[in-house]
């Protein structure tokens, strides 16, 4: 950040564009030749939020929410658990930017969620409760150790409200999954999910191409070009040999 201009007006330093600092703009457009807030790109690597037990459960869950089929991988290969891991480690996990002041009172459905739990706390508490529930009802097996049919059965019972957790709203956890898992499947791969743009390829979404002037008048013709991510595409940057 350059600091250069001095304004007698308020004896304030004037910076270039800033998202967080108060500035005085006078006689010029605040300008920097660089992006103000370029995207953060999530990399593969160790879990950043989940413990190994939590990660095993999450990889099993995302593969039941979005199961693999003959043409398209499921949530696990697509990276949905990695996506959620990175989200929970970041501002989403800590409810940064949301209104978090109390009192926290349960209201009507149309007043919206009022829980004092952060998203990170919700996942941590609910995943522990999920394994505890499975171990006590499924012969000592954790969720990840169940077969797919048994996993679906547990998830369906959470969805319907039949299975409840002690310290956390099980249905609220399931609602968070139904939001967060598809986001991992369909958001730009820079966020850690949608590996190799499998979610986009499945439906035919071309990503961030940003210019369809050549196709807007080609009615009822399938758009032919493959998707592009904010990070480009694997075949643009061949692996170094």
């Amino acid at each position: 950040m350059q600091r250069r201009t001095f304004l007698a007006l308020a004896a304030w330093l004037v910076g270039t564009t800033s998202l967080t600092r108060a500035t005085v703009i006078h006689n010029h457009v605040p300008w920097s030749p660089h992006p103000n807030s370029p995207p953060e790109i999530e990399r593969l690597g160790p879990w950043q939020f989940f413990t190994l037990d939590e990660a095993r459960a999450m990889e099993a869950i995302v593969d039941r929410i979005i199961p693999p089929d003959a043409e398209t991988p499921g949530g696990k290969i697509a990276g949905c658990a990695v996506f959620i891991d990175r989200q929970l480690k970041g501002p989403y996990g800590s409810n940064q930017g949301l209104y978090t002041l109390g009192p926290h009172t349960k209201g009507t459905k149309q007043q919206g969620p009022q829980s004092a739990l952060t998203h990170a706390e919700l996942y941590r508490t609910a995943l522990a409760a999920l394994d505890k529930h499975c171990k006590s009802t499924q012969g000592g097996k954790s969720f990840a150790e169940l077969d797919a049919a048994a996993q679906d059965d547990v998830l369906r019972k959470i969805e319907s409200g039949e299975v409840k957790f002690d310290r956390v709203d099980a249905q609220g956890f399931f609602s968070a999954l139904l939001k967060d898992v598809p986001e991992g499947f369909f958001s730009d791969p820079i966020h850690g999910g949608n590996n190799d743009m499998v979610g986009w390829k499945m439906i035919g979404f071309p990503g961030i191409r940003y210019d369809y002037r050549d196709w807007v008048n080609r009615h009822n013709e399938r758009y032919p070009y493959p998707p592009v991510s904010i990070a480009g595409r694997a075949d643009w940057t061949p692996a170094k040999s």
């Binding site: 007006l9 308020a10 564009t17 800033s18 998202l19 967080t20 600092r21 108060a22 500035t23 005085v24 703009i25 006078h26 006689n27 457009v29 300008w31 660089h34 992006p35 103000n36 995207p39 929410i65 979005i66 199961p67 501002p91 989403y92 930017g97 949301l98 209104y99 978090t100 002041l101 209201g107 009507t108 459905k109 149309q110 007043q111 919206g112 969620p113 998830l155 999954l177 139904l178 898992v181 598809p182 986001e183 369909f186 958001s187 730009d188 820079i190 439906i203 035919g204 979404f205 071309p206 961030i208 210019d211 369809y212 002037r213 196709w215 807007v216 009822n220 399938r222 758009y223 904010i230």
Partner: protein
């Protein structure tokens, strides 16, 4: 203790669409103007370049360009008997933040209201009789007419380079345009945008059903355009990342692409960003504003003295700041007295999602602009006889689908499970062959005695000021209106050949978690009587004549259109009154 800044002729609170227009007009009149903006300065190339502007998670889902509820939010309840609770993350509407305001991330749907909308109470009473209106409905005339606003609508459309097809030029009905619109003095500055397949199909089906479809007036450029301030915009590329996003192409009309580059070159204009006005100061008489108090991002407090104050924040923040500053009498719904907070409204939106045969229809839903679409206006305002239907109001309707972004727009037929193999299969099968207009039925919401804004008794913002409290529910009139319009809308999709048409009616109770539009209106309304309005016909405060309040907070009730065209026209109208009347003789412009 606040430190004092040098006096200015004008202080403007909020540098969005109307703040930018007022700043330009008043600086152009030679006044020394400062604008104070709560959020950051934003530029196209530095803040949302094409290389990463199209990030659905970051901007659509995590709301990066919007106000954070941690900065401030509102509380909400349906009924006066309930305890209001805070909106912890945004749902029904999305308050903007930063220079450019909602103009950065709007869709650029640029409508005019109908002539009858501005004289609504008089018009409906004359046509149907006073008994036709519900007892607790509090609709009013605006105090300004369509004919008076026409030149100002025109100025805004030429500022923006609006793309569209005129339907009525000086009384002559034009083929292909909206025949119901008020007479305009000339054509739009740019021709309509091209229409993708699904939108074209809607227009064709509507025409075959006897309607008069027309392209939605769009602030997305159909061709390169240079506006009257000498600022150039580029053609829209139909990228499908418009609403909720900044435009990386300089193709969407916004303060950044139409006003600010010319405004910042004026030596008598200054802006201060990341600074929040916490109070409008008045002198001991309570009849004269002396300036504002603001807090910057470092937490330092400043006083900015000024001769004229323009309050041009987002609707509900205008109302909140008036209440916190003790300007005007607060509305009391029980006693039916006071004006600040009354006639608060939103919108009555519904949608119809249609599923077509994937073997025959490929819509490429990702090819779209923010204000794309074909619309009909047969069921808006009082364009049809309401007598047999038992409700008033209406809205335009159209296939105005703006995107195929996959987190938001992967519709599946009703009855599909919410997860698992069946869900995945349905997403894949229907993505290319479903139509989900989003805000397909754009219905009006009229005003009621028990729908209003006041200050919350419990919840506070980060400065320990009371949050604004919204009390709002849908009334039977709007529910009936929505049922009628949604059914009519669905018939058009049937005629297009959809194999399944799913109507998503808007139902009571009003739900703060379900997005409709960001068109909150009212709370500091204009009118002809100081006992039922906060502002006179020039947006001047009845109580503090050196205070003008712009924005949709001035709407006595909301019409069946997007509000920005009318919001901007009113800003030009008020700026014109200040320049031509107020400056010569500063004082109350209307003797009530």
């Amino acid at each position: 203790m606040a430190r004092k800044l040098p006096r200015k002729d004008v202080v403007i609170i909020g540098l969005g669409w109307t703040g930018s227009i007022m700043a330009y007009e008043l600086a152009d009149a030679g006044l020394d103007v400062i604008a104070i903006e709560r959020g950051p300065w934003r530029n196209t190339a530095t803040d949302y370049p094409p290389g990463y502007a199209a990030d659905e998670l970051r901007y659509r889902i995590r709301h990066e360009l919007f106000l954070s509820p941690s900065q401030t939010t509102f509380t909400f309840r349906n009924k006066m008997s309930e305890a209001a609770l805070p909106i912890r993350s945004w749902g029904a509407f999305m308050p903007p933040n930063g220079v450019g305001g909602g103009g950065v991330h709007w869709n650029a749907e640029t409508w005019r209201f109908l002539p009858s909308d501005f004289v609504l109470k008089t018009h409906l009473t004359e046509r149907y009789g006073a008994g036709f209106l519900p007892d607790d409905m509090t609709i009013q005339d605006w105090g300004v007419t369509y004919d008076e606003l026409e030149p100002h609508y025109d100025r805004f459309e030429y500022l923006c380079g609006t793309s569209g097809q005129a339907g009525n030029i000086k009384g002559k009905i034009m083929e292909g345009g909206n025949p119901f619109e008020g007479p305009r003095s000339r054509a739009y500055p740019n021709p309509p945008q091209d229409q993708p397949f699904g939108h074209t199909l809607f227009g064709k089906a509507a025409r075959e059903l006897g309607y008069k479809p027309f392209p939605q007036p769009s602030g997305n450029m159909s061709r390169p355009y240079q506006n009257p301030l000498g600022i150039r915009l580029g053609p829209c590329t139909y990228c499908g990342f418009c609403e909720w996003f900044g435009c990386g192409n300089y193709s969407k009309a916004s303060p950044q692409t139409t006003v600010l580059p010319a405004l910042v070159r004026k030596p008598n204009f200054t802006a201060r960003d990341n600074s929040e006005v916490t109070r409008i100061n008045v002198d001991s008489s309570g009849k004269r504003a002396t300036g504002v108090t603001l807090v910057d991002a470092s937490g330092d407090e400043w006083e900015q003295p000024a001769d004229l104050v323009v309050l041009s924040a987002y609707t509900i923040f205008n109302v909140q700041l008036l209440l916190l500053s003790g300007i005007g009498k607060a509305y009391d719904p029980a006693a039916n007295t006071g004006v600040i907070g009354r006639n608060f409204t939103h919108q009555t939106i519904s949608d119809v999602v249609s599923f077509f045969d994937p073997a025959k229809f490929v819509f490429n839903p990702f090819i779209a602009s923010g204000a794309i679409g074909m619309c009909i206006d047969e069921f808006n305002g009082d364009n049809f006889d309401h007598g047999p239907h038992g409700f008033v109001g209406g809205g335009y309707m159209g296939n105005v689908q703006t995107n195929g972004r996959p987190i938001e727009t992967t519709p599946v037929p009703p009855g599909t499970p919410l997860w698992g193999a069946e869900w995945k299969k349905a997403v894949k099968e229907n993505y290319q062959s479903a139509i989900k207009p989003g805000t397909g039925v754009h219905g009006s919401m009229y005003s009621y005695r028990d729908v209003y804004v006041d200050l919350d008794p419990t919840y506070k913002d980060r400065f320990n000021r009371p949050l604004a409290r919204i009390t709002m529910d849908f009334h039977d009139n709007e529910i009936k209106q929505n049922k009628f319009l949604t059914d009519k809308f669905a018939e058009i999709f049937q005629a297009m050949g959809a194999r399944q048409v799913h109507k998503e009616y808007r139902k009571a109770p009003y739900d703060i978690t379900k997005y409709q539009t960001t068109h909150l209106c009212g709370g500091a309304i204009m009118g002809t009587d100081p006992s039922t309005s906060a502002l006179n016909r020039y947006l001047q405060s009845w109580d503090v004549p050196n205070l003008f309040v712009t924005g949709a907070s001035a709407f006595p009730q909301n019409a069946g259109y997007n509000p920005t065209g009318t919001v901007a026209a009113l800003a030009y109208w008020a700026a014109d009154a200040i320049r031509s009347k107020y400056l010569n003789n500063p004082g109350q412009l209307i003797n009530a």
